[in-house]
């Protein structure tokens, strides 16, 4: 966990990619879930944030 947080602060690829992946996964689930409309409403912004973040953080250096 400490390694993960350290990776976030030092802008390492691994932890940031995990955050972006979680955002994308969450956004897609929100888009397709049949439970609450508000989750659907905010799904696109979550997915978009995750996708843009994923493209950017893919260029970060690897964690040692």
């Amino acid at each position: 966990m400490i390694r993960f947080i350290k990776g976030l602060f030092t802008l390492r690829r691994g932890p940031w990619e995990l955050v972006a992946t979680l955002l994308i996964g969450c956004g897609v689930f929100m888009l397709m879930q049949p439970f609450v409309l508000w989750a659907y409403t905010y799904s696109f912004i979550v997915t978009l944030t995750g996708t843009v973040m994923f493209i950017i953080v893919s260029h970060f250096p690897e964690q040692e």
Binding site: I24, V28, L31, Q33, T41, Y42, F44, T51
Partner: protein, 315 residues
């Protein structure tokens, strides 16, 4: 290329062309070769994408070209993301996507595993199984419509044989409960062979000596399956899921042919809804925003998936 051939080509090159090429660097020549492809890519893929993004912020209607086009900011996105009908179409897409992938992977892998066993008529069975994939979706949609007919359809009679229910008591394409499953069955029937072929390639790429070593170590068949077969086929399986997932997310032809989105709008998937908005209601700006939402979703999922696939391959 032999020296003679090179000399022959050099002598055949017109002097004017030879003089022009002579002064070019390797980099420039590379650009000359790659240039047309990049131009085509920009013209066919990138420009329409940028144009769609631009249109998604307008109230443009393709059937009213004389009307003034106004920029309305994010209003199209707001409407789509607050529309309960679009939400329902997303749920229909999710249902179709999940169950088709589930059945195709399960049946496809099982078939590949069985076909991989050496038995008589192996090639013939492979050909027979692969046949549905070679048919056009329009043809498949048409003949499954006949198979699903409550009065004369073969499917209902087969179901009667197993369940004992009257064949005309249920209509696969006309029932709200059954129609989503009807399209899942047809897509699974059509595209399971594709998953099977990819899995078969994976299974055949596993060298026999690994199994022989496992036999020597007295590993059981079950253990061999989970520690050798599954991990080594996994990259192939993931590739098949990626291809089928993207295809099924934008599934259109088969469903239109089978149900047309009905009964009601229970099988109206995102792509069908998008087509209605774009070419029946002519809300081009709105449908462009809808297309961008779908694009970002597929792009995001595919990026993560390709990353995971590479990690599995490295292992």
């Amino acid at each position: 290329m032999s020296e003679k051939t090179i000399d022959r080509l050099a002598s055949a090159t017109p002097v004017r062309v030879a003089r022009k090429v002579k002064g070019l660097s390797d980099r420039a020549i590379a650009w000359i070769f790659v240039g047309p492809t990049i131009f085509l890519l920009l013209a066919i893929n990138i420009f329409p994408l940028l144009w769609t993004i631009n249109l998604s912020f307008t109230n443009f209607k393709a059937n009213r070209l004389n009307r003034e086009v106004k920029y309305i900011g994010l209003r199209n996105y707001e409407r789509i993301l607050g529309d309960a009908d679009v939400w329902l179409s997303m749920q229909a897409t999710a249902h179709f996507l999940f169950w088709t992938l589930f059945f195709q992977v399960l049946i496809g892998f099982t078939l590949a595993w069985l076909i991989n066993k050496k038995f008589r008529g192996n090639d013939l069975w492979t050909t027979i199984i692969v046949l549905p994939m070679m048919l056009s979706p329009a043809v498949v949609g048409n003949f499954w419509t006949f198979l699903y007919q409550p009065q004369i359809g073969l499917f209902n009679y087969i179901m009667t044989f197993f369940t004992g229910a009257d064949p005309s008591s249920f209509d696969m394409l006309g029932s709200v409960d059954l129609a989503p499953w009807a399209i899942v069955i047809v897509d699974t029937w059509m595209w399971t062979p594709f998953v099977m072929l990819i899995c078969l390639a994976g299974l055949r790429s596993i060298p026999d000596y690994i199994y022989e070593a496992a036999e020597i170590d007295r590993a059981s068949k079950l253990r061999q399956f989970f520690t050798i077969t599954v991990p080594m086929v996994l990259p192939f399986l993931m590739l098949a899921i990626l291809f089928r997932g993207i295809e099924n997310f934008k599934m259109f032809d088969l469903v239109v042919q089978l149900t047309g989105g009905g009964p009601g709008s229970i099988t109206e998937m995102a792509s069908i809804n998008l087509k209605r908005e774009a070419f029946e209601k002519w809300r081009t700006g709105y449908s462009s925003a809808f297309a961008i939402i779908l694009f970002v979703t597929v792009f995001g999922l595919a990026s993560v998936y390709v990353k995971a696939l590479n990690k599995v391959k490295e292992r």
